[in-house]
Amino acid sequence: MKRTRKPGISRRSTLALMGAGAVTFAAPWVARAQAKSIKIGMPTILSGRVAQLGTSSRNAVMLEVEKVNAAGGLAGRQIEMVIRDSKGQPQEAARIARELVNTDGCEMLLDGEASSGSFAVHEVARDLGVLCIHTCSEASSLTADPKQHIPNAFRCVRQGIHDSIVGAGYAAGIAKAKGLKKWATCSPDYAYGRDTTGEFVLYLKKFAPDVEIISESWPKLFQPDYTEVVTKILQAKPQALYSCLWGGDLTSYIDQANIYAMFTQMEVFAVNMADYTALTVVKNLPKGIHSGDRYIKTFPPTPENAAWGDAYKAKYNEYPTNWSWQNATAVMFLNEAVKKANSTDGKKVAEVLAGLTIKCPFGADGTVTMRADDHTLVGYAIGWGTTIPQEPYVPDVKAGDWKAIFELEAEWKKSKGYT
């Protein structure tokens, strides 16, 4: 059969021309729509041993971002989150943070890194001048040390020093009431473990001078077997034990210590117990472990906090973590700061953020503040209570006194040479 081709423009050419025309004319609108959105970058840990915490950070951010976007976005610009996995490696965290700003066009950073990763992202923020809110690192020096201070970085996270002051006050009260004089400690052997334990012991002795530390154990981070640690503590026969083990380490420790009936032989103070990731994983949660609040929906005991915890559970089919409320609070801060600055410009937002107080479900009095002098979060709900094996897990949390925290924190900063 002979194929014929009609003269003139073919159907394909016509379609191609129409397509090209549509792209040409649509381009300005597409570009405008893109410019209208604001990209916020977030390096965090989505793989490895702390992936659950990174994922809960992402979940909380997305929960809040959806609310902000539904209400019109940041100064009319829809938020577009760009979230990447750093694998918990500081060099990856730095690379990703730079990539998010330089290549993906992110105008702000939420730093969902812990420990060394947060310091690596902090240096990127220093270098690029981009607005950065740290949302997971509890290392006090990140904001307390004036060498770290940069005008464009903030920390929306609880701090080890705050936990130690409140925890020691609470523990000293029980120590005096029950005559607990012989204490043991068991904390992970790295900076957080040693710093937090040291500060707890310092304030415990300040509030209850009779206390004596008769045994110290420093298991390695992610240690699988705690038999020698448990037996060492049992042999020392202390009346009370303090631990800042966390996550999988804490749950493994409790499961193994349960075999030796450790929790019936002494009062146990575990600052990181009251977090759903630990509470729901321990096989037989002993009654009466004293713990600081990480995140539980019953503290602060407000309808706003309970509603937030339930909304998170309804959306993700699991309870939020300590990292969740911190990340959610960071988005709340950004939203309020942009409203006040009436701009998404990083510098203007940073100026407003310093000293900003916002309404927040996780505030001790319904509000939280980004303290102006060291760009760190204060006024969040902080307290200690005792566990029961079922919900609400920590039914009665005794709230810490922020006035006392501020006084002792100022002394601590002075002793460290920070002020």
Partner: protein
């Protein structure tokens, strides 16, 4: 006739010496062209991500190629080479933070410190062979990593060196400027690769190959195997430390993860990926791994599965690195052409 008489009557053997100079000039020319091309990249492409990528390639490339001097050329499979990467980063960072000396002084002092540590560790390790060597190097790496974690007052413990690394300008070079850092990293990469190439192609480099293939024979013909192994162990440590210094400058800090066993693992993986029988294999492996890492991390959080599949493909499928495969393929084609 006794051996002595035989030795006296024998004529000295005339070994034709190959003039190595033309090859050295060729290497130098290639190095210069490579540097010029790298230096021109920022003018051709404005992407800051590309500059970051090349800086990281320089750090990991020097580290992986130096590891290949041990693995590929000497047959010493070190599982602890990352300790020198970490030492370089910490030594340089601490020197800049605590003493405030000019950058070149800190650079040289860090190399001197690495040299001393490498001599001590190497003197113990290179006496051992195969798996024993591998595990003792790993043990030393974990020792250094634990020291970094524990010596909190000096190293900052698990939080690393905080507060940024000061980068005062020297000789008109300001490493706080990203472009200057890029050019300096490229220069260090090219110089490092050129020097390692000269080591690999020198008579000493061929001695290392002989030790790799048959250490007993090498010692029988009068080579001090222990000394040769120690020298290459120390030289490789110096190049790895240079890689660590570039990384410290890139992230403006040093972190315990730089001295962790996973860094050594990445070095081994890079060598597997690129191949150990060609000089540029590890460099190709570095580029491949970083491209894979950067793109896969962007696309999925299940990057571990993807990288695992890639390792399996190279280990079980190709059974060699990419450059080994390419070189063999070319050789085969050339053979077929002649046939």
């Amino acid at each position: 006739m006794t051996e002595l008489q035989a030795g006296q009557s024998a004529q000295p053997l005339e070994v034709p010496r190959i003039d190595a100079r033309p090859q050295r000039y060729r290497d130098l020319l290639i190095a210069l062209v490579a540097f010029v091309l790298l230096a021109l990249l920022p003018m051709l492409f404005g992407s800051k991500q590309l500059l970051d990528f090349v800086i990281r390639c320089a750090a990991y490339g020097l580290f992986a190629t130096s590891l290949n001097l041990l693995v590929g050329y000497t047959g010493l499979i070190s599982f602890g080479h990352g300790m020198f990467f970490g030492l370089g980063a910490y030594g340089f960072g601490l020197m800049m933070q605590k003493t405030g000396v000019p950058i070149p002084v800190a650079f040289v002092a860090t190399l001197a410190m690495t040299l001393v540590v490498a001599v001590v560790i190497g003197a113990i390790c290179v006496r051992l062979k195969e798996i024993y060597f591998a595990f003792v190097t790993l043990a030393f790496q974990m020792l250094i990593h634990s020291t970094i974690l524990s010596w909190q007052s000096l190293t900052g413990g698990d939080q690393g060196l905080r507060g940024g690394i000061p980068r005062p300008p020297f000789l008109g070079i300001d490493l706080a400027n990203h472009l200057h850092l890029y050019i300096t990293s490229c220069a260090l990469l090219v110089i490092g690769l050129f020097l390692m190439r000269q080591i690999a192609q020198s008579p000493f480099g061929y001695t290392l190959r002989m030790i790799r293939d048959n250490a007993t024979r090498a010692s029988f013909i009068g080579i001090n195997v222990w000394r040769a192994k120690l020298v290459i162990f120390v030289l490789a440590a110096l190049f790895a430390a240079t890689g660590g210094m570039i990384m410290a400058l890139f992230v403006s800090g040093a972190y315990p993860e730089f001295a962790y066993w996973t860094i050594s693992g990445e070095g081994i993986f890079i060598n597997m990926l690129g191949g150990v029988t060609t000089f540029l294999g590890p460099m190709v492996g570095t580029v491949l791994l970083l491209i894979l890492n950067d793109t896969v991390t962007r696309l999925t959080e299940y990057h571990g599965i993807v990288l695992g599949v890639v390792i399996l493909f190279f280990a079980i499928g190709l059974r060699k690195g990419l450059m080994d495969f390419v070189v063999e393929w070319f050789a085969q084609r050339r053979g077929e052409g002649r046939g």
